[in-house]
């Protein structure tokens, strides 16, 4: 394994909201900002790894036909991971780690305002056994919530605290989509959406793009003073059919791989960003990550979702990378020295990625 480490030397965000521009124009803004942030030129980037969902989210098959030029990949080396852009981070990391690339851009786009995402995600269910039930993505999350609350006896008032905390943080984060605070009472008064989840417990969809510039150690040290190293990355999946809904085995498996690579202990992690697409996900993810025992995720003292989490910013395709970018910026600014970000995709969080950062 190459002993040279991989650092993040540039970050760029577009606005996150319901954006009335095509996804590629939004991506261009994020890419440009990342390049400026790193104080490099487009031509110095020797590898581009794009991320985000293909075709159905944006109504165009092969979305990287549009995002590649937007990222700056004109006549350059480019490839694309079709998943939440956090997964693109993993491929970019490997390209730099291997020595194939010195300066690599990861660009993720999220576009949900042009089509009903539930209908899009529904098509991922097999047409024989699952799709005829019209099970939406959020229904699978509700099933998870139901099982989790039942198994561990956690009350809805406690779970609602996650929403209050996330939105409190989101209100202080100028980059987040949802900026207004919501109280536990507001959550409990909101209408029942899919039992047991109330409307305010489910992340809404938005658009937005984020880009990161990765650099190999020697180059990174020439670009940036305070470097954020990617210490470990892990990813996994837990198959296709629905079992064990009260836990997140893919996240657990991904965390194991990431922590092993990073060679750090849980207690060394100062801040965590998790992709809580619904309220219950927050404690479930913290348990799967190993920060709390089963059923006790709601009781951790860990700093969680200073960005506002996915509850405040859920841009189908770039959510995971948005969380990473927020965390990375805080490490760069010196607010914290270490952090962990988690992303997941698919029904019931069956695919997951965990990344660990530090100085």
């Amino acid at each position: 394994m190459s002993h040279l480490r991989v650092a993040i030397v540039g970050v760029g965000f577009s606005e996150f909201g319901i954006l009335k521009e095509p996804f590629y124009n939004i991506s261009f803004l994020a890419a440009k900002k990342a390049i400026e942030d790193a104080s490099i030129e487009r031509g110095e980037i020797d590898s581009f790894v794009l991320g985000g969902y293909d075709n159905l989210g944006v109504g165009r098959t092969i979305s990287n036909m549009y995002t590649a030029p937007a990222a700056g990949a004109y006549l350059r080396h480019e490839t694309r991971v079709a998943d939440d852009a956090a997964f693109a981070l993993a491929l970019a990391f490997m390209r730099v780690k291997s020595g194939l690339s010195d300066l690599c851009m990861v660009l993720g786009f999220g576009k949900s305002s042009e089509t009903p995402i539930e209908l899009v995600e529904l098509q991922s269910l097999d047409p024989f056994f699952l799709r005829p039930f019209n099970l939406s993505l959020q229904m699978s999350f509700a099933m998870q919530s139901f099982c989790y609350r039942k198994k561990y006896g956690v009350k809805e008032e406690r779970i609602a605290e996650c929403i209050a905390k996330d939105t409190e943080n989101g209100s202080k984060n100028p980059k987040a989509f949802l900026r207004s605070k919501v109280s536990v009472e507001d959550v409990l008064n909101s209408r029942m959406a899919i039992y047991p989840l109330r409307e305010l417990e489910i992340a809404r969809w938005c658009d937005g793009s984020v880009a990161l510039i990765l650099a190999s150690e020697k180059i990174a040290k020439r670009i940036c003073d305070r470097l954020v190293w990617i210490k470990g990355i892990g990813w996994s999946n837990s198959g296709y059919y629905f079992e064990e809904l009260e836990t997140l085995p893919a996240t657990k498996s991904a965390a194991e791989m990431a922590f092993k690579m990073a060679g750090v202990e849980r207690k060394e992690i100062e801040s965590v960003e998790v992709m809580d697409l619904v309220s219950d996900h927050q404690p479930m993810i913290l348990e799967a990550l190993g920060f709390a025992e089963e059923g006790k995720g709601i009781e951790t003292n860990l700093e969680v979702n200073r960005s506002g989490g996915a509850i405040c910013t859920n841009s189908y395709g770039s959510t995971g990378l948005f969380l990473v970018a927020n965390l990375v910026e805080r490490i760069r600014n010196g607010d914290i020295d270490s952090g962990l970000a988690q992303a997941m995709s698919g029904y019931a969080g069956k695919r997951a990625l965990v990344s660990i950062f530090g100085v």
Binding site: S98, L100, S124, N237
Partner: protein, 385 residues
């Protein structure tokens, strides 16, 4: 960087339709690849999966197919249009080269046969704001190239037809190929015009099937295989999106740029002399001609004579697509991986239509509206020379 080799490959037969489900086809190809590599599925440490979703009528098929190859393994999905097969392979290569894992499986599957009409799906790749109204699909785009090339170099329809004759001849020897029938120049010229000047027998079929390749680090490859296929180098290139941005339809300048970069990086001085065989992605006859010129095998305007003169035949000076190529088998998201597999089998000495003493091979794929290219070089030796 770790040296990486392909130690096993598997393909299903490619047909109009397999009477199996998505994961079953993946399982079939994976099983063959594991047998070829002499390992078990539990030895596979990570999986990289590629597919062009919409053709198969299932969004994110990797979720379903994880049941066949990847449950609880780190599995990544790559999707880049026509180049998917090769970019998936390269992502698997990146994974091993990074040192994270020693044995990684690249899986590509495509069931274009299940899609009642592929052109309407391809039309959705085209920008809905400015261009989709024109009804352009993949065939029109290749036809644009043919029109421009024939006009500029005074190429004849027969010149293109010879490419089809050669590919079909080769496919007869490939048990995995989809279309396996002999065609004559006359047959090609008489077949109905689809998008002028391209005729039906100059165009690829809609194929259904899966392909798998297993990548291993140098230490593992040496232990498991006497004749692995070493990856010497790779590159990809991405042009701007709009079709009208292409400066010249009679040549493929973006491929030429990518080729030069790769040759320089790997140390190829003269592709015609150095390569023993090439598996190029040409679902339409004209594209093989353009690719040969762009990649430096033929001078400008001379590529049109290669098929007629037997230069690209399996026993010719520059064997091209001895597998029958994409023209005879096109499971779109998997075709790029099939090119790499066929190129690897050649340098392993195990191809069905074997080029004598093949040691160095080039694999290529293109995608989008003439927008992307991916290239990889495989060799029977660990390094060039």
């Amino acid at each position: 960087m770790k040296r990486v080799a392909i130690i096993g490959c598997g393909q299903t037969e490619f047909k109009s339709k397999h009477k199996k489900t998505h994961p079953e086809i993946v399982y079939e190809a994976a099983k063959k690849a594991l047998e070829h590599a002499g390992i078990d599925i539990k030895d596979v440490e990570a999986v990289v999966y590629g597919c062009m979703d919409p053709f198969d009528g299932i969004y994110r098929p990797e979720l379903w197919d994880s049941t066949a190859v990847g449950v609880f393994k780190p599995m990544m999905k790559i999707s880049t249009g026509g180049t998917t097969g090769l970019t998936t392979a390269l992502a698997a290569y990146d994974t091993v080269a990074s040192g994270l894992f020693d044995i990684v499986m690249a899986v590509c599957v495509q069931r274009v046969g299940e899609c009642v009409d592929a052109q309407s799906v391809l039309n959705t790749a085209v920008d809905p704001i400015y261009e989709r109204f024109s009804g352009v699909g993949a065939i029109t785009v290749a036809a644009f190239q043919a029109t421009a090339y024939m006009h500029k170099y005074n190429a004849k329809e027969e010149d293109l037809a010879y490419v089809s004759v050669k590919d079909h001849e080769n496919a007869l020897k490939n048990p995995y190929a989809h279309i396996r029938m002999k065609v004559s120049v006359e047959d090609v010229l008489k077949s109905p015009v689809v998008c002028s000047p391209l005729k039906l027998l100059e165009c690829c079929p809609r194929s259904d099937g899966a392909a798998v390749a297993i990548f291993a680090s140098e230490e593992v490859a040496k232990k498991l295989k006497d004749n692995p296929a070493w990856i010497l180098g790779e590159t990809t290139i991405s042009d701007s999106y709009y079709l009208g941005d292409r400066p010249d339809f009679s040549c493929w300048d973006s491929l030429a740029i990518a080729g030069r970069r790769l040759y320089r990086a790997v140390g190829i001085d003269d592709p015609m002399r150095d390569f023993d065989v090439a598996e190029l992605y040409s679902p339409f006859t004209i594209q093989e001609i353009l690719e040969l010129e762009a990649l430096g095998f033929a001078e400008k305007g001379k590529g049109k004579d290669f098929a007629k003169e037997g230069i690209t035949a399996v026993d010719g000076k520059m064997p091209t697509n001895p597998s029958g190529g994409v023209l005879c088998t096109n499971p779109i998201g998997a075709s790029g991986l099939v090119r790499l597999i066929e190129a690897s089998l050649q340098v392993m000495g195990e191809a069905k239509n074997q080029v004598e003493n093949a040691e160095l091979a080039l694999a290529h794929a293109w995608g989008g509206t003439l927008q992307f290219h991916t290239l990889a070089i495989v060799s029977s030796k660990k390094k060039l020379g």
